[in-house]
């Protein structure tokens, strides 16, 4: 390629363009004005002065006051109030585009439904809808929190009551245990008594036997007494005999002493026998008395009753043991229930006792929406300028026959295509430093000497793509009007699909892919990556490769179509 010739043609084309003072002025003014106007429009994404009407049966209603305060303090809405139910008024005002939404507050706060009418034909409706959803959720959340707080308080009370019930049950269980022990003791005592009764019964038998034995004893004593009488009589007889006998006085005296001693003994024995008899009688009497007492005591009935008592005690003790077991089991269940409550409380109380909070961190610090939309505005301007300039200038030169003359000259077609492309891209890029300066000075965009150069480079690549697109459009457009209208088919969808006005995520999936692959989107991403955050090199490489691929494709198409269209 003849560089000198190329530079000469480039310089002359530029000179020709710049000699048209109106084009020259517009070349500078248009993009700068667009950047400033659109940029200022995008400085804030927060809607303000949204006209909203609010009404309710009672302005003293807590819900009305809360809603009014929330809306008023948001700084977004211009609120106007109406008395009573105002649906008709809201409808009329929405229809006349006087308000964007109307809120009707019900009289009752409990189970309240706030009626909200939104003008869904306006873009701000999405914001209003989200805002109202948020505030109604906020109010519901407050109610919910109060309810949850009350619930936790009740749960704490229940826990305490379970503690008290458990203590009561434990105490009752202990009492029952003691009662059971007492019953066992009573039962033991009853057994002792029963044994006593058996012993008494045995004693009674002994008494009976003793009485009969005493009877024999009495007979024996009577027999002894009778024997003593006989002995006494015999001793008297012996006395008399002795007395009758002539025996020495000494012998008589000795025998008389013996007989007297015997008689004394007999007397003593008689006294003893009498005494024994009296004792026996007395004992018999006592025994008989005892026998009578024992008979009167009805020991068998006593024993039977005692047996009944023992049996009843045994049954009662079993029942008490069963009740105690049940009480112990109940106490265990209550303990388990309390533990479950405590576990649930420990686990969920921190979650439910406080509303769900979100901590929003601004990842890009103090960056504003305009910082991110500026690259898109920039590439949009370049797209418009590159496409329109190249298509219209090409058609102008073709209509004057200049292109024909150039194409039959020794200047090759490829040379011509490259020169026209570079020229138009260069012209499109002339205002770029001024646009960037306006961005820095007016919109406060952070562009410095380090990122400005790569930004200009990306813009240059993008300009080439759209210059070629413009040439393609010009190749099948007969007039400049056709070219401008045809350019709109390319540039307008790209503008709206660029994500500057509507988020990509709002598009259908196929459009999202298409929007993400558009050269304007790729360039905007690259500039964002160069300006506000660091895109990974591989991603940057892929995006650049996409742009270069666009250049290759558009250049091929342009070459094919333009050659035919000259």
């Amino acid at each position: 390629m003849n560089i000198q010739k190329f530079m000469y043609m480039l310089a002359k084309d530029t000179e020709i363009f710049l000699r048209d003072i109106r084009s020259f002025m517009l070349l500078f003014l248009t993009p700068i004005l667009i950047v400033i106007l659109v940029g200022i429009a995008f400085l804030s994404t927060q809607p303000s002065h949204v006209p909203v009407i609010i009404c309710g049966e009672s302005k003293e209603n807590g819900l009305y006051k809360d809603t009014y305060a929330l809306l008023k303090n948001s700084g977004t809405f211009d609120l106007s109030e109406q008395e009573g139910y105002c649906r008709e008024i809201i409808s009329q005002k929405i229809k006349n585009s006087n308000v964007r939404a109307g809120i009707i507050i019900p009289e009752q706060s409990a189970n309240a439904t706030i009626e909200i009418l939104i003008d869904n034909t306006k873009p701000v409706s999405t914001y209003i809808e989200s805002y109202f959803n948020l505030i109604t959720k906020d109010m519901s959340q407050k109610l919910m929190n109060a309810m949850i707080s009350d619930m936790w308080s009740n749960i704490d009370n229940i826990s305490e009551q379970i503690d008290a019930a458990e203590d009561e049950l434990n105490s009752f269980s202990q009492t029952l245990g003691k009662a059971s022990n007492d019953l066992s003791s009573i039962s033991g005592d009853a057994s002792v008594i029963k044994n006593g009764i058996s012993a008494i019964k045995n004693a009674k038998t002994g008494i009976d036997y003793s009485i009969s034995t005493l009877q024999g004893l009495r007979n024996n004593v009577a027999s002894i007494s009778s024997g003593l009488d006989t002995v006494d009589e015999k001793s008297r007889n012996i006395q008399n005999t002795i007395n009758s006998l002539n025996v020495s006085i000494f012998a008589q005296s000795m025998l008389a002493d013996d007989i007297t001693s015997i008689q004394n003994s007999i007397t003593a024995m008689r006294i003893a026998a009498n005494s024994a008899e009296n004792g026996i009688n007395s004992l018999e009497l006592s025994l008989k008395n005892a026998q009578n007492v024992l008979e009167n005591a009805n020991l068998d009935d006593m024993e039977r009753r005692l047996n009944n008592i023992v049996n009843s005690l045994s049954e009662t003790s079993s029942s008490i043991a069963r009740v105690k077991n049940r009480i112990d089991s109940l106490a265990n269940r209550l303990r388990a229930a309390k533990n479950n409550i405590l576990t649930a409380s420990d686990k969920y109380k921190p979650v439910y006792s406080e509303p769900v909070n979100s901590k929003i961190s601004r990842y890009f610090g103090n960056k504003r929406y305009i910082d991110f939309v500026f690259p898109t505005i920039l590439v949009m301007i370049l797209m418009l300028m590159s496409t329109f300039l190249s298509s219209t200038s090409f058609i102008r030169q073709r209509s004057t026959g200049l292109l024909k003359r150039i194409s039959i000259s020794t200047t090759s077609f490829n040379f011509l295509l490259v020169e026209k492309t570079i020229f138009n891209a260069f012209i499109s890029l002339i205002p770029l430093p001024f646009i960037l300066t306006a961005g820095v000075l007016v919109l406060g965009i952070e562009i410095n000497i380090y990122n400005a150069i790569p930004i200009i480079l990306v813009c240059a690549i993008l300009s080439i793509v759209f210059v070629l697109v413009g040439l393609i459009i010009a190749s099948f457009s007969r007039t400049e009007s056709t070219a401008i209208l045809a350019s709109l088919i390319f540039v307008v969808p790209m503008m709206f699909l660029s994500g500057a006005f509507t988020p990509f995520e709002a598009f259908p999936p196929a459009f999202q892919v298409m929007a993400a692959s558009m050269p304007i989107t790729i360039s905007a991403r690259l500039i964002e990556g160069l300006t506000f955050y660091v895109l990974p090199l591989d991603t940057m490489g892929i995006l650049l490769a996409f742009l270069l691929a666009y250049i290759a494709i558009t250049a091929l198409i342009a070459r094919m179509l333009i050659k035919r269209g000259i």
Partner: protein, 226 residues
């Protein structure tokens, strides 16, 4: 031009057209609008590739896109095809650059502008020239690479009678330097004044060929149209 057939879309613009132009003559192509005159010129200068047939210059095929043949041919379209925002000199220099003219363009501009009576206008913006001067500049741009053959498409169209006369004289002047000129026109007076040989085209076909007087007498004859 030998047996050239050109289709423009579904329309047959030229059909087996053969033309024989002698060196140094002014050759005229006449016919009604749409008869194929401009198409024939486009084929001659290489703007259109014929479906059939070839173009030869001194026995060599010229429609091959080679620069040596491109330099031999100059095309002067019926529109004023130059840059309105450049001066006469700048336009002439631009066209010299287009054809990679190696000689001193300053002298060439001086010489051509003088011969075309443009020497007083060389510093004037093309947009500010009169119609006749613009047509001269159009021709001057064609002459910048000193072609052996000049193709002129309706050269005097939209010119006033005085300017037409001056232009015709100029064409004659150029022709006298030995340059072969092929003119397409539907102006019989122009053809009669300028041309040595004339071909009458009708619907892309050669209807008649001969000296201008002969052709004109035939074309104006009742029999021709019946």
């Amino acid at each position: 031009m030998s047996n050239v057939t050109v289709d423009l879309g579904k329309t047959r613009a030229l059909e087996n057209l053969s033309l024989n132009v002698n060196a140094g003559e002014i050759f005229g192509l006449i016919g009604r609008n749409g008869s194929g005159k401009t198409t024939a010129l486009k084929v001659l200068c290489g703007l259109l590739k014929p479906k059939n047939g070839n173009v030869f210059l001194d026995g060599q095929q010229v429609n091959t896109g080679k620069n040596e043949f491109k330099k031999m041919i100059g095309y002067c379209p019926q529109e004023n095809s130059f840059f309105e925002k450049l001066t006469v000199r700048e336009n002439m220099k631009y066209f010299a650059k287009l054809y990679d003219v190696e000689q001193d363009t300053g002298k060439l501009i001086e010489s051509i502008s003088k011969s075309l009576c443009l020497e007083d206008q060389v510093g004037v913006l093309a947009a500010n020239l009169s119609g006749g001067m613009k047509r001269r500049l159009n021709i001057a741009c064609t002459l910048m690479h000193e072609p052996q053959i000049i193709l002129m498409d309706e050269p005097s169209i939209e010119l006033d009678p005085v300017s037409k006369g001056e232009l015709w004289k100029l064409i004659k002047l150029i022709n006298r330097t030995g340059t072969t000129i092929i003119i397409s026109s539907n102006n019989m007076e122009e053809i009669h004044y300028l041309c040595d040989m004339v071909t009458f085209l009708e619907n892309g076909r050669k209807v008649y060929e001969g000296a201008p007087n002969d052709v004109l007498s035939v074309v104006y004859s009742r029999e021709f149209w019946l």
